[in-house]
Symmetry: C2
């Protein structure tokens, strides 16, 4: 839990403008003079699988851009139960609720090795009080939150367990960059994503492996959509 290595830190312009994924991230539309408004340093951090980026109800000071990797947002209930309410990938923004001063709604945990940029909220506020250049990017991200939530509710929480797991696998595969291969979460996480038990998740995954719909070694997986049979 302590290895969140700091790669580097900077104040904006000199690094962000050269960012290889800049067109994917929050600062895509910023001008030179906007970067000069940054007073607090932006830090690039590395998290290993299982490490926590921030906790639910933590005091808020940062917004996080995912540079690479995979992050789960976990919502804990007072009774000890929990759900994974969202997955974040490259270009996604974590802790966006920091922008109106509320505390974090979920705990953010890296599911595999993950690289992020930690951006002080004050830098964002600084820009927003001077220009509207962040407006469309922020709006786009808020909308993605809504659209993801919509997909989640309408596809990942209804139907039987085979439907749900199949939907999740298709979702994971649809966003994979690398040759159709994607990261397969552990059975407990699949359960927390789909509101089913670990055992049921395991049974369905095992069956998908037998029918050939899914092939996986450890957490690296591929699917053959034509072999999907939900009968």
């Amino acid at each position: 839990m302590k290895s969140e290595a700091i790669h580097q830190a900077w104040n904006g312009a000199e690094k962000c403008q050269l960012c290889p994924i800049r067109d994917l991230v929050l600062f895509a539309d910023l001008k030179q003079e906007d970067f000069n408004l940054f007073h607090l340093p932006i830090k690039e951090l590395e998290f290993k699988a299982g490490e926590t980026i921030y906790k639910q109800n933590d005091t808020i000071s940062f917004v996080y851009t995912i540079r690479s990797g995979l992050v789960k947002l976990v919502h804990y209930l007072p009774n000890g139960n929990y759900r994974i309410t969202r997955l974040l990938r490259q270009g996604d923004l974590a802790g966006i609720e920091a922008l109106n001063g509320a505390s974090y709604l979920q705990q953010a945990i890296a599911m595999k090795n993950t690289s992020i940029c930690r951006i002080p909220v004050q830098n964002i506020d600084q820009i927003n009080s001077h220009s509207t250049h962040l407006y469309s990017q922020l709006t786009a991200r808020w909308q993605k939150v809504q659209s993801d939530a919509d997909i989640w509710l309408s596809q990942l929480t209804m139907g039987n367990s085979k439907h749900r797991v199949a939907s999740l696998l298709l979702y994971l595969a649809s966003n994979s960059h690398s040759e159709g291969s994607f990261f397969l979460p552990c059975r407990e996480d699949i359960g927390a994503l789909l509101a089913i038990t670990t055992e049921t998740a395991s049974r369905v995954i095992a069956e998908f492996n037998r029918t050939g719909f899914l092939e996986n070694h450890k957490h690296s997986a591929k699917i053959n959509p034509s072999k999907l049979n939900l009968a």
Copy 2:
């Protein structure tokens, strides 16, 4: 479906500033000069129970503020299934995804008689290109979308049907203005909200009525939280 009576139309300042629920709505922070930027008329519309405010994938031109009543956002899937993904009440904003030019993600349907203000997106854009006065209100509403989605996923889609229905009733009651009495949706809507069948919803509601946790006449309901027994 044709009775969406138009109460009145205006261009901003003269009416919005006198709005009795102004502190609840999007324009809470606007100044006199902001209202003067409105070029297109804002209209106050009335919808009866069951009438559609907008449809999924409609071309987008408006954002809607709920003045009173109750609205469900329905997400239809290609296979004909559907889910209710959110409920909107007084002060909530419908069609907020219009703000970045996407099409509506869901269909909005009034669940009971509902009064709304229809605001052209261009008016919002006009303000946003000149000032940051809308920023915090918009952010607050986007965050409410996220926070609602979170509650939905973590409480309304897990556990057995009694848990889910009880959670929904507590949610509905928690936001009622009038003496603990609230609007009880029809069984089919309860099912679409909780991802259970109409029959199961009916069975649970009937049982809650027998145990005294719930009392309802038609769609007007009250609950006695102390009589909740999930055994």
